[in-house]
Amino acid sequence: MTEAYIYDAVRTPRGKKKNGALNAITALQLATQQLQAIRDRNGLDTALVDDVIMGCVSPVGEQGADIARSAVINAGYAESTAGFQVNRFCASGLEAVNLAAAKVMCGEADFAIGSGVESMSRVPMGSDGGAMGVDPEMSFDHYIVPQGISADLIATKHGFSRDDVDAYAMESQRRSAQAWKEGRFKKSIVPVKDQLGLTILDHDEHMRPGTDMQALGSLKSAFKDMSDFVGFEAVALQRYPDIEYLNWVHTGGNSSGIVDGSSAVLIGSKEAGLKAGLKPRARIRSMASIGSEPTIMLTGPVAVTAKALKKAGMSSKDIDLWELNEAFAAVVLRLMQAYEIPHDIMNVNGGSIAMGHPLGATGAMILGTLLDEMERTDKETGLATLCVGGGMGTATIIERV
């Protein structure tokens, strides 16, 4: 089987939802600019790119009608470059990369781009409806609760207190701020341009550097009121009846931010790279997706990590650096607990709690962040993973070449 290599990775800075800089920029533009950056940074003849796979979680409105193909056309790629949009909820971006890699590995594509886009300020979360939370055949029969309830369920079941999750959140803010200060994201960041071609955003604007435990501790539970009104806690406890009640530890401060953003990763075979005169940065060592219990929903990273490690013939101790999307603090604490991962090799440059989580784009973003950091600190192996709605997990293990 052909090996798949990463040749480049780019991302937008993330614009916050409320009065954010990217609100006036279409999702199509966000995606277009990332594809153009991949082309221009690498002097890439786009006729060599067989396919562009784009993650997007709310593919309706301006993100509908196969946003991937729209972005490919709009970016001025060769007519022969195809494009399709995928949705694996929060892992869509990473799944897009994995699919691109799979296409290269099986010989269908020489170059393929795994990417993602989500303008959460323009196409609100949940705009695409869906049976999962609405049709009683799903929500009633399968004990479906919103993610926040699941996050608090993880915290309750696995013993993470409010202080634990707030301390994690504070560290995420600190690390993100430090990473920006030291320019650790420089390699990947492609500033977003406005309609005139002027830079409208060149940094992640959701961050709150200097946040302390007191500020975090003063925030109200983000999910208790909704649960009290509708009864989600009762639903969760019917699935986990050994728990008496949920600890409401998650707030806006220790959960991921709602932001706009886009990302892209160029994947290709060794031969394709040679032909294009590009140097591979890392090899895809293994990849995996998995289903997990849907009510607690966000424990997929634990299971999918085991699966990806097994496919790579590795153990968790063989991983030098970890990136797990900070959907909620308890999700990260749970993976660290399960594999005894030291905090100093997990999300070393912070994550979505500080910088935000543009749903469809995040997966490809954190893979790029991981690779940049592996290069900066000269690490060999890294694992990127995300928890996923509906009870799933997706992971990718890479190693430098």
């Binding site: 949940g126 409806g129 939370g133 609405v134 049709d135 009683p136 055949e137 929500s139 009633f140 029969d141 004990y143 479906i144 609760v145 009104f229 509708v230 009864g231 989600f232 009762a234 639903v235 406890l237 019917q238 009846p241 050994d242 728990i243 008496e244 009640y245």
Partner: protein, 734 residues
């Protein structure tokens, strides 16, 4: 067309009067449906008919479908191959929808003049009309779809038409919780088009037909129809549809398929045309008919309860009599409660206590209860005052001289009860029956103090009397049929359900309840997490967990009871392995239960805060540690339901209860035994005696003698019998 009259007026509007001969209520039966089809054809094809008004010749408009007819052909259909059986059953279930759909698409305007109560199919007739009018001056005229309360779903388009009129938010309480609404609410919500005095009801309906604003078309058949409040994928609608499932799961634990299917009917039906929607409804109705819950709930909660409420257990030798005045002796919590519910049923009460102050306090309890009713708008101040006036608090036994019946509710002390019996019998008329509300002392022994032991009977209420609708009537050795009949007169008059129980320790309900609480304690002693015990018990369909219930009845009472039983039985007493838990809770920690805010739970002083399990219960687990491996919720559900059902079966074997209907209804009303099962014996019948015995044997092996199978059940398993088959007087209903 024997159920309807049909008169055409000078405007060409037909007045159709629903008036089934020989019945006090109009119900929808097979021949009513046939008549309906004839009527629709006539309205549609007769050129002289311009429109129609449907009303009723009875006080009520129509009380719905004949539940006893439901699933009548099931036995016959069961012989067919599965797919064929389902298709045939669907056709039967779709019959009503076809009929109503034909009516609303007949091409001419039809109005319902809803003169009185319209429930279930009765309300659905009205919904299938283009216009609806209700009276402003008949408080009995209400609309409702109570089907879900007996495990059925509205099968005549109710799940489709009502939400299309008022949206999911307003329809949900009516569809899912059996909420009935009055004329003004119906008008405000847009369910009816006009509310006028009864005398103008038909005229107003005719006027609406003449105006015919809808042009003989239902709103949902018009092109511009939009689902009120938004359908499932409208942004506002999605919020409501998304909330409906968790709200329903919270209260039903997934045990009630009727409600669950109603939700799917609304969700799926709201996205398609009415023609498709009613097929969806009938498919879910058919699915429901194929499950045991509907059968069991209809039988126990509707048919059996109704039969018992009508005095079904009155001996053939006796006839129904009137109860006008009752003496209640002992004005404590129980006595005051009995007085309260009695005056509400129009019975005059002499409330006697040892002191005038005590008697007055009992009356105050009733007045407080009525004041609550006034506050909630359920009762006028005038009525409340009148009810209070019907209670005479006194210490004077001479006031008992003209009572029809006495109920004593004094402390559980034989001597005291003996004394009171004598004092009362000195005064009461010869025909008066003496009832004791004892919960633990054998009636036969109490009756030794009576000069008329054949007129001495147990009338055992449950606490709180205002809420608990079961009454156990205890037959002492010498209790006669007359006393039984009078007790039934009393209990049915106060709108409680009587069951007849033999005279043994704990009678029927409390014996089973002791098993329930006991099993909870057993599990705690085995190291099962208390949260799991309590949650899984509620998931099994019980209203509260065993530890909660023990807190409610009080732990110190439990200790007292154990000591009393120990004293009574002497050497025969077998201590339970969980006794030390109770003794330690009470004697070492002074945790008495809810009454001192400390029991298995901690009860916060702050109002509105939830109770929480006492964190130190782990000490009662083996080695002070909860078991590493916790059982599944299903295992606990089985233990909880089986231990109670087995005790009920033992009560049948011992003749404590004799009629499976009483055992079932008693289990649901008396201690809330999982209503979806149809009761403790229906549960066994549904599992099947053989399978039940097999599982009980497994449980006995794993957990102990509380699961020992009585010989009766083993025999039934061997012969393939059911309780209703073997003991049922109404075995056809099984």
């Amino acid at each position: 067309m024997k159920n309807f009259t049909f008169e055409i007026d000078s405007d060409g509007i037909a007045l159709i009067t629903f008036d089934s001969p020989g019945k006090s209520m109009n119900v929808i039966s097979a021949d009513v449906m046939a008549d309906f089809d004839t009527l629709t054809a006539k309205i549609s094809s007769d050129d002289s008919v311009k429109g129609a008004v449907i009303t009723s010749g009875k006080d009520a408009f129509c009380a719905g479908a004949d539940l006893s007819e439901l699933g009548g052909s099931a036995a016959e259909l069961a012989k067919l191959p599965e797919d064929e059986m389902k298709a045939k059953l669907f056709e039967q279930c779709f019959r009503l929808n076809r009929t109503f759909r034909a009516l609303e698409t007949c091409g001419k305007p039809v109005a319902a003049a809803i003169n009185g109560l319209a429930l279930g199919g009765g309300f659905e007739i009205a919904l299938a009309c283009h216009y609806r009018v209700m009276p402003s001056d008949n408080s009995k005229a209400k609309l409702g779809l109570p089907e879900a309360m007996v495990g059925v779903l509205p099968g005549g388009g109710g799940t489709q038409r009502l939400p299309r009129l008022v949206g999911l938010m307003n329809a949900a309480p009516i569809l899912l919780q059996g909420k009935q609404i009055d004329a003004n609410t119906a008008l405000a919500q847009g369910i009816v088009h006009a509310v006028v005095p009864m005398a103008e009801l038909v005229a107003k309906a005719k006027e609406l037909v003449k105006e015919n604003k809808l042009e003989s078309k239902q709103p949902w058949d018009a092109d511009k129809f939009r689902f009120p409040g938004g359908g499932p994928y409208h942004p506002a609608g999605a919020q409501m549809f998304g909330a409906a499932s968790p709200m329903l799961r919270k209260t039903t634990y997934g045990n009630y398929p009727a409600q669950r299917y109603i939700l799917s009917c609304v969700y799926e039906g709201s996205q398609v045309s009415m023609d498709e929607a009613i097929k969806i409804e009938s498919r879910y109705f058919t699915k429901l008919m194929l499950r045991p819950e509907s059968r069991n709930m209809i039988r126990s909660i509707f048919l059996s309860k109704q039969a018992l409420d009508k005095g079904g257990r009155r001996p053939a030798s006796q006839s129904k009599g009137e109860i006008k005045k009752v003496g209640v002796i002992g004005a404590g919590f129980m006595g005051a409660g009995i007085a309260t519910v009695s005056v509400q049923a129009g019975i005059e009460i002499v409330l006697i206590d040892a002191t005038q102050e005590g008697a007055e306090k009992g009356k105050q309890h009733a007045m407080d209860h009525f004041a609550g009713g006034v506050k909630r708008g359920k009762l006028s101040q005038e009525k409340a005052d009148k009810l209070a006036g019907m209670i005479t608090p006194t210490t004077d036994y001479n006031l008992l001289k003209d009572v029809d019946l006495v109920v004593e509710a004094v402390f559980e002390n034989s001597e005291l009860k003996h004394k009171i019996t004598k004092m009362a019998e000195d005064v009461i008329p010869e025909g008066a029956v003496f009832g004791s509300n004892t919960s633990s002392i054998p009636i036969t022994s109490l009756a030794t103090a009576s000069k008329r032991p054949d007129q001495y009977i147990g009338i055992h209420f449950f606490s709180p009397v205002e809420k608990m609708n079961l009454v156990e009537i205890i037959m002492g050795e010498k209790t006669g049929d007359y006393a039984l009949s009078r007790a039934i007169d009393f209990v049915t008059k106060i709108k409680k359900t009587p069951i007849v129980v033999a005279d043994t320790r704990g009678f029927y309900a409390n014996r089973c309840v002791m098993r329930f609480i006991g099993e909870g304690m057993n599990m705690l002693a085995e190291g099962i997490k208390p949260a799991l015990i309590e949650n899984a018990t509620r998931m099994a369909g019980m209203p509260v967990g065993p530890l909660s219930l023990q807190d409610e009845v009080a732990l110190d009472l439990g200790v007292k009871l154990i000591k009393q039983t120990k004293a009574d039985l002497g050497a025969d007493y077998k201590p339970s392995p969980t006794e030390p838990i109770l003794f330690k809770m009470v004697e070492e920690y002074e945790r008495f239960g809810r009454k001192n805010a400390k029991g298995f739970y901690d009860y916060p002083a702050e109002k509105g805060q939830p109770k929480r399990l006492w964190p130190e219960l782990e000490q009662f687990a083996p080695g002070g540690k909860y078991a590493e491996e916790q059982p599944s919720a299903d295992e606990i559900k089985d233990r909880i339901l089986y231990t109670q059902a087995l005790e009920a079966a033992r009560c049948m074997e011992e003749g404590i209860v004799q009629d499976p209907r009483e055992a079932d209804v008693g289990s649901i009303l008396g201690w809330g035994f999982a209503p979806y099962t149809g009761g403790a014996l229906s549960f066994i019948d549904t599992v099947g005696a053989a399978a039940f015995v097999k599982r009980a044997d497994e449980l006995a092996k794993a957990y102990g003698d509380q699961f020992a199978v009585p010989a009766l059940l083993r025999e039934m398993a061997k012969k393939g019998e059911t309780f209703y088959g073997r003991f049922g007087k109404e075995s056809a209903a099984a």
